[in-house]
Amino acid sequence: MTIETGGSRDGELSICGLSKRFGTSLVLSDISFTVIPGEILGLIGPNGAGKTTLLESITGLCPVASGTVCRHGRELEPEERRRILWYQPDNILPFARQRVATTLSFFRHVHGAATAELDELITGLDLDAILAKPLQTLSKGYRRRVLLAIALLSRQPLLMLDEPFDGFDLRQALSVMDLLRRHVARRTMILSIHQLSEAEKICDRFLLLDQGRLLGIGTLEALARQAGLAPDATLEEVFLALT
């Protein structure tokens, strides 16, 4: 089976031969792909596929057995990657005891974002009502929105979000997708998503991952072709055909 590694050679970021082990088990196996500037790349796979590990490996937060992350053909050391990409992990509660407004203000300052930008995010994510509350007291949906605001305040050209739609109802998810779409005009995104219907709505291309193996990468049409399905096949059909 031939896997299209996708994208142009001088893409924003190229990941080559990334492998990662936990003890004796291989959790990422020789993953290679290129991210195209301005796209939303969906990292698709079931729970335990290695999506979070892949994002943390790209960020340089966790050690890898082998592989490189390159930009314009030059290998980036983990410290250098901080200038290029921002990774927003799933299920975190930064500074949980302090007011959301204080936490957002802190991240606005360290990212150098404008006050108007934060105000726009507060409105766009409907955070007004919870600004005075501590993060630890919020519902899962609100926590997600605050984390999303923190991520969108960052300046790095590549934004990686782990499960950004988890905990949102359909209407909220659509609203967040709209917000991300507006932001993608300025930056590239990699979204780790396990719900295929949501991924299909927002992503330009898809990277299918299962048990640490790269099954395919490309547009839905290209993946359907790779899976031997009709061009109008759904992402779910493609994923099932490739696994």
Partner: protein, 452 residues
């Protein structure tokens, strides 16, 4: 379209420092530490003043006893004993939060992506803790103020040295706690590791007291033992270097273990290299150690004429001591004239001859037991005395020199009869209530914000 450049590292560092201070001030552990320290310090101070006053009454009746009334030993050291407890048992619980809380909440994953190195990140956290340590010193500041208001005497250099000693000790404890948090998955584990080191050091100091050989050497490097040396007014570069070296060691280890993308094996390797470098540096510093007597009563100094004469001894002075390590006479000798000779004589060799001593109630079978032999450039002498008045003339005789003591002003002593009882309100009520209010403010605010 490229995004605009972010703020400078200095600005990010400033915001992060503010964030760290906020996090620590929101922590009830900090206020609990301050409240407990305040109560302990207050109790120690009031008791110390009562005992000092009792002794001072006698000293005022018999002026020759006044020289023994020293505020450093009588008031400050017992009062700071309360700080020792707080720094050893409670400070680790506050300090582990610097790293542990961010690690547990996931905030560390975000902070490590900021354009700051783990070294800068840890330095900012340490700086925040340092600023809040000044808050913890509030009861100590009140002690100095009240003592001064009562008419008590303070000698600034030895008082400053005492503060510096506790500052360095706290620095080591904080860096140990940071390292423990960096290598642990949870706050309770980090707390256990920190306490194991600080309490272990305490136990080690207790266990080796009165023992000799390797155990004594090991004990002299315990944190407790190093802190105690600052309580005597002796500013020794070896003590400062040892505490600073330990703090630097644990601080750098923390940064190694927080550096993202490194395997455990590479972190262990870097840690081992660090151990090697630090051990070499410390060995070098200890070889060239020097000391300055900052005590007002010059307890660590010889007469200036003696110091000058001893510094000019060119040959090697060898002292062979026939005393058991646990013998109180040896302890008196070590802490008295021998400690001063080690600092003054350029080439001094001290040998501890094996003895047949059987302890406190057993008589030694060695006929030389208790003897101290002196050899200088082939000349030999011996004595059973452990007092400076007898030992120095022996050394001068062997060296063939005559030394006439210089007149130095005698330490007058500072007897004072006072009652510190009324200050108890501040230590037992005002500060603890303020701490309680600060801790409750955070909790109530949280409750109100959650339920409104």
């Amino acid at each position: 379209m490229p995004l605009p450049e972010g703020p400078s590292r200095a600005r990010i560092a400033r915001y992060l420092l503010g964030q760290e201070l906020r996090s620590l001030l929101l922590s009830p552990a900090l206020w609990l530490l301050l409240a407990i320290v305040s109560i302990l310090v207050g109790y120690s101070f009031i008791q110390a003043v009562a005992l000092y006053s009792q002794a001072s009454r006698t000293a005022l009746s018999f002026p020759e006893l006044a020289a023994g009334m020293n505020p450093l030993d009588g008031i400050l050291v017992p009062t700071f004993g309360a700080y020792y407890l707080g720094e050893t048992l409670l400070l680790p619980f506050v300090a582990i939060r610097l790293i542990g809380l961010d690690k547990e909440s996931g905030a560390l994953k975000l902070l490590l992506q900021l354009p700051l190195s783990p070294l800068s990140l840890c330095a900012i956290k340490l700086a925040a803790m340092g600023l809040l340590w000044l808050l913890i010193l509030l009861p100590a500041g009140l002690v100095l103020l009240f003592w001064h208001k009562m008419g008590g005497h303070l000698h600034l250099p030895e008082t400053a040295l005492l503060f510096a000693g506790h500052g360095l000790y706290s620095l080591v404890v904080v860096t140990i706690a940071m390292f423990a948090a960096a290598i642990s998955d949870s706050l309770p584990t980090a707390a256990m590791i920190s306490l194991a080191v600080t309490l272990g050091s305490w136990v080690l100091d207790f266990a080796v007291s009165g023992q000799g050989g390797t155990m004594a050497l090991l004990g002299s490097f315990s944190l407790t033992s190093m802190l105690h040396r600052f309580e005597t007014g002796l500013l020794a570069t070896s003590h400062i270097a040892a505490l600073l070296g330990l703090a630097l060691f644990f601080f750098l280890l923390t940064t190694f273990w927080l550096r993202p993308g490194r395997t455990t094996l590479s972190r262990l390797g870097a840690s081992l290299v660090l151990v090697g470098i630090l051990a070499s540096l410390l060995a070098g510093v200890l070889q060239t150690s020097s000391a300055l007597d900052l005590s007002e009563n010059r307890r660590h100094s010889l007469n200036p004429a003696d110091s000058r004469a001893l510094r000019h001894l060119e040959g090697t002075l060898t002292m062979t001591i026939h005393l058991d390590r646990r013998d109180s006479r040896l302890l008196d000798l070590e802490h008295g004239i021998l400690a001063r000779l080690r600092r003054a004589v350029p080439h001094l060799v001290v040998r501890y001859a094996a003895t047949g001593a059987t302890g406190l109630f057993g008589a030694s079978e060695d006929p030389k037991y208790g003897l101290i032999e002196y050899t200088y450039e082939g000349r030999h002498d011996q004595s059973y005395s452990n007092s400076a008045e007898e030992i120095l003339p022996i050394i001068y005789r062997l060296a063939g020199i005559t030394v006439r003591a210089e007149p130095v002003p005698a330490y007058p002593g500072y007897p004072l009869v006072a009652d510190a009882g009324p200050t108890g309100w501040w230590f037992y009520l005002v500060i603890p209530l303020l701490c309680l209010a600060a801790a409750l403010h955070g909790m109530l605010l949280n409750f109100y914000q959650t339920h409104r």
